[in-house]
């Protein structure tokens, strides 16, 4: 669909204004990380760092083995995301395309548990983890958080739009249920899988509570766990915190930029034309 030039201009100016509003605070974070402490706290506020300094980055990196934390976070994030994509898409498929007893109760139950503040059930979670021998194990921060209600819900709502005729046709051809899921549903769900991959990457990369509960071995620390050390009782090391926030944003941003290209139409037709 070609857009008229006037519409085009309108769209771009609207987007640019909104984008500016969204971008300014983010830019402030990045710029602040490059400021000296005296610029960071100066009044009237300074817009531009003078001079530009990397001292916060250096200092932050000197406060822990961040190479190791990055490695741990990467392993956890990648494995957990793959697991999440698999099990959430399976569950979402079941809830969207089959009618079975308890399906809506399961879904609503799933979603409502999002409401429980995890802090309140931390002690029982710890007990379960240690009963299963998962205390101080990376598995504890990979497996449990992968079963997200949000992911299941997201998959289900998307897959609702898959025409039933498609599945029936496949069944007529003798395809099994797993085959239908694997070779019809999954390829169709690519855009939503990309969305979920982006979300899961962010959730796990920024996860703090599960590592806090489960990990006590400094060799298994994730980045977020290490970052929280910058917050003391009386003072917060804002410089280091800003610097590390900028660095930790980069992988999430890259993943987003790569995966957002898959937000394309998965279903070319409504099935009306067969």
């Amino acid at each position: 669909m070609e857009l008229r030039p006037l519409t085009k201009i309108a769209i771009y100016s609207l987007l640019s204004v909104a984008a500016l509003f969204w971008l300014l605070p983010v830019l402030w974070v990045v710029i602040s990380a490059l400021k000296t402490n005296s610029d960071l706290y100066s009044y009237p506020p300074k817009l531009w760092p003078h001079p530009v300094t990397f001292e916060h980055f250096k200092e932050a990196f000197s406060k822990g083995d961040f190479g190791l934390y990055f490695k741990n976070s990467t392993i956890v994030t990648l494995t957990s995301t793959l697991l999440l994509l698999l099990i959430n898409s399976m569950a979402g498929f079941a809830l969207a395309k089959y009618r079975f007893r308890g399906s809506s109760i399961i879904l609503i139950g799933f979603i409502s548990t999002l409401m429980i503040p995890i802090e309140v059930i931390m002690i029982p979670i710890f007990k379960v983890l240690s009963a299963l021998g998962m205390y101080n194990s990376m598995l504890a921060i990979i497996i449990p958080p992968a079963a997200t209600p949000t992911g299941v819900f997201l998959m289900r709502q998307y897959l609702l739009t898959v025409p039933d005729e498609l599945l029936e046709a496949a069944r007529m051809d003798g395809a099994g249920e797993w085959k239908i899921y694997w070779s019809i549903i999954l390829p169709m769900a690519k855009p939503i899988l990309a969305v979920l991959a982006i979300f899961s990457f962010m959730w796990r990369w920024d996860d703090f509570l599960w590592p806090l509960i489960a990990i006590s071995d400094p060799a298994k620390y994730t980045i977020q766990l290490a970052l929280s050390n910058f917050i003391g009782e009386y003072s917060v090391d804002w410089g280091s915190l800003l610097a590390m926030s900028v660095i930790t944003m980069i992988p999430v941003l890259v993943v987003f930029i790569v995966f957002q290209r898959y937000f394309v139409s998965g279903m070319i037709t409504s099935g009306m034309k067969g």
Partner: protein, 430 residues
């Protein structure tokens, strides 16, 4: 449909990869799960929970290394978490049946029942307690049990912007004899605002703990000396509340700190505020300020002088399986030599009577002011703040009630009465 096959192929590939990774991580976990004893000289791994404000984390790591070298059977696993997460983590570990061997801790009272009584591990309780500043005793001796050991002591105090005071030509007290009265102090701040160009006279940390300094300087307290009833709604308490409100009304203090959540530390750093009511811990934080000169002076007196003592402690926990080793390590850390080194390098004040003068590489004269504040402190301050289970129940309400007064939702008397009622309820339920 080539793309579809590609997608499937890559999906299965990553799936397999992830499974391999999962099993790989799974395998490496078993080696570090526990710390049992294996005959002979007992090998022990001590989980040591820790939080940092400044560089004390680095200092303790150095000390741990030395300790491990001379005690080869002991390995110390320093678990660093943020301050606000320490209590949560500690609770989870204890209730989940895996307590750490020891922890750095501020709210000793909350964990009293889970703490190892250190009495059998020290020469004698009296001798041990005699080493430390007396006002700290109620924090670590509970029901005649030695539940913790002091690592450093803190004092609330007054940090001022020397550049602004000089510009206004206002002098600060340089010896305990010259201490301001509150009226003189307020007049001084007003002058610094008028002539020195300070936007605000002072900022004050948003915690009931820092607020209570004012209370003790006017002879008030949160609870009575025997702890049986609230005392905060006394005449002194109400007068303090009114003064605190007046300071806001007159624009000496910005409302944005207590009402709007602005960070007083960051405001003082901007160089436009004449004074910051904080504590000795701020010295190391402000060390890197280059835009202006700053210093520490004596807090003004009301009916008397007072600061509020506080501190960080070390606590060992029952059921870690390494109680003895933990106690031995605590003994080591509180010994004169190690404790002085720790406090000197971290820029903290030592709780030991015999190390009150340390050779700091920065701000030595400032610490002298703080330790003088501590010597001239109302005993009611420690009496209040060592009742930590009670304090934890009422501190949020106290803060909110103070804010209610500042935002004209309640009079000073109403707010203090309301707080007193909650305090009495909390005492009654214990």
């Amino acid at each position: 449909m080539k793309r579809r096959t590609n997608f499937k192929l890559s999906f299965s590939l990553v799936l397999i990869m992830s499974l391999i990774m999962l099993t790989a991580c799974g395998n490496t976990d078993n080696s570090t799960v526990n710390t049992g004893s294996t005959g002979g000289a007992k090998q022990a791994t001590l989980d040591f929970l820790w939080f940092s404000d400044g560089n004390e984390g680095e200092v303790i790591k150095g000390i741990i290394k030395e300790y491990e070298q001379s005690n080869t059977n002991v390995k110390i696993n320093l678990i660093e978490v943020g301050f606000k997460d320490l209590q949560t983590k500690l609770k989870t570990m204890i209730s989940g049946g895996k307590p750490p061997a020891l922890s750095r801790i501020t709210d000793t009272g909350s964990f009293a029942n889970q703490a190892v009584d250190l009495t059998p591990y020290v020469e004698s309780a009296d001798q041990f307690e005699g080493q430390f500043i007396d006002s700290l005793k109620p924090y670590y001796v509970i029901d005649d049990k030695l539940i913790a050991a002091p690592m450093d002591v803190t004092a609330n105090g007054l940090i001022y912007n020397k550049t602004l005071f000089d510009k206004a030509g206002v002098k600060v007290p340089t010896s305990p004899e010259e201490v301001w009265t509150w009226d003189e102090y307020i007049a001084a701040l007003k002058e610094v605002m008028a002539k020195g160009g300070a936007r605000y006279g002072m900022v004050w940390d948003v915690t009931p703990h820092r607020w209570s300094t004012l209370l003790y300087q006017n002879g008030g307290s949160i609870v009575t000396e025997d702890g049986s009833a609230a005392a905060i709604n006394s005449e002194a308490g109400v007068r303090c509340m009114e003064l605190f409100k007046q300071l806001h009304k007159d624009g000496i203090m910005p409302e944005s700190v207590w009402l709007g959540g602005e960070n007083p530390n960051n405001l003082f750093r901007s160089g436009t505020v004449a004074a910051h009511w904080a504590g000795n811990w701020m010295i190391s934080n402000y060390k890197d300020i280059t835009d202006f000169e700053w210093g520490v002076t004596y807090m003004p007196k009301g009916t008397q002088r007072s600061s509020v003592p506080g501190g960080k402690f070390l606590m060992a926990f029952k059921g870690s399986g390494n109680e003895q080793e933990a106690a031995a390590f605590i003994n080591y850390l509180t010994s004169k030599e190690v404790n002085s080194k720790y406090n000197q390098e971290s820029l903290f004040m030592s709780p030991r009577k015999d190390s009150s003068v340390l050779d700091y590489e920065f701000g030595k004269e400032m610490y002298e002011v703080f330790s003088d504040e501590l010597k001239n402190t109302s005993p009611l301050a420690a009496n209040d703040w060592s009742r930590q289970t009670l304090i934890s129940k009422i501190s949020t309400d106290l803060k909110n009630n103070i804010i209610d007064v500042l935002s004209d939702k309640a009079t000073a008397q109403e707010a203090m009465d309301k707080t007193a009622k909650l305090i009495n309820e909390a005492i009654g339920s214990q």
